[in-house]
């Protein structure tokens, strides 16, 4: 969903740049509370992983592809503030070195692919987790739903930005329908990749998954069991 230069006019690009700068500023403050000696390297590797995953376009419909955005993934793995920074770092490097996403569009891209995906993805994740039982499988379900919603949400916000500052005059209703439709499909791919990644991390080191910290942990040695019925 990387927006190139020239899609959004200068004034609105400046405005989204301000929004992105404020968002990154808030994230920088909040990330201090999330990061410690163990999670800082994890956040760095999360950024590297999302950069790699974004190279992997998967087909979603005839002649169309999509790739992971990673906002929900980063927020669930390392926390929402740090997660927003993770995606922002990826977008920054992509725009600067790889000519992927316009430099004048960096504010727009950070707004939709970092701030919106984290806010919506992590918000849905938390809301779903709040109503499900405290189990590891609940984290995976909440992860899937947060990820699947985050992508069309970003598409909706992009369409809104285009409505204000788009450089061509096109019917916005049909654009919104097309954007949401294709990004619902991409969102499914996002959800599959995100859930697989989070579930893998949960299986190995659940204590390192930020979004799973609410799960009650017994203070004794944890017995690995596959029981579905009785609560341990």
């Amino acid at each position: 969903m990387h927006v190139p230069d020239g899609f959004i006019n200068a004034p609105v690009s400046v405005a989204t740049g301000v929004v992105a700068a404020i968002g990154v500023g808030v994230a920088l403050r909040g990330a201090r509370r999330e990061l410690d000696d163990a999670t800082a390297p994890l956040a760095g590797v999360s950024a590297a992983f999302i950069f790699a995953a974004q190279m992997l376009n998967f087909p979603v419909a005839a002649g169309t592809s999509g790739h992971l955005l990673g906002g929900a993934l980063a927020a669930i793995l390392v926390g929402p503030y740090t997660g927003a920074l993770v995606v922002a770092v990826v977008l920054f490097v992509q725009g600067l070195l790889f000519a992927d996403g316009g430099l004048t569009a960096l504010g727009t891209n950070i707004t939709i692919m970092s701030l919106v995906t984290v806010l919506v993805g992590y918000g849905v994740f938390r809301a779903v987790l709040a109503v499900l039982p405290e189990k590891r499988v609940s984290v995976s379900v909440a992860t899937f739903l947060g990820a699947v919603v985050s992508v069309p949400a970003a598409a909706v916000v992009f369409t809104g930005i285009y409505a204000i500052g788009g450089t061509t005059d096109i019917p916005l209703g049909s654009m919104l329908t097309a954007m949401v439709g294709v990004h619902l499909l991409i969102g499914l791919g996002e959800a599959v990749i995100t859930t697989a990644t989070v579930s893998s991390a949960l299986a190995v080191r659940p204590d390192l998954v930020y979004g799973a910290r609410g799960l009650r942990k017994p203070l004794q040695i944890i017995k690995v069991s596959d029981s579905q019925g009785a609560a341990a």
Binding site: P41, M55, L56, V93
Partner: protein, 111 residues
């Protein structure tokens, strides 16, 4: 109770290293097999005709532009190399930022 041993836990260093290894394999090798079709936004822009405004990228002359390494002819090598370089740059930039932001803790055990 299952027969799974409870003693061994994957260390944080190993966990982080494994994540990095996966990222390198994805960017360096698997990326060659990614779909070349336009992504959702590109496709909609072309269909609806709002791609007219798109301009050339300011970094189009970058040696890594469009996920290749300029001067490397072999497509697989060029793309894979650019992916590995990108993973490295993101790791250094991101890792450096997060390390600088982290809460300083008193070391719990003298290593």
């Amino acid at each position: 109770m299952s027969a799974v041993s409870t003693g061994r836990r994957v260390g944080t260093k190993v966990f982080v290293a494994a994540g990095l290894l996966v990222a390198l394999v994805l960017a360096g090798f698997v990326s060659y097999y990614a779909s070349g079709s336009p992504d959702g936004l590109e496709k909609v822009a072309a269909d609806k005709g709002f791609d007219a405004g798109a301009e050339d990228h300011a970094s189009a002359g970058s040696p890594l532009a469009d996920y290749g390494v300029s001067g490397v002819e072999n497509a697989r090598l060029s793309g894979g190399l650019s992916g590995v370089i990108g993973v490295g740059v993101v790791l250094v930039v991101g890792g450096g930022l997060f390390w600088a932001l982290r809460r300083r803790q008193a070391p719990e055990d003298a290593a």
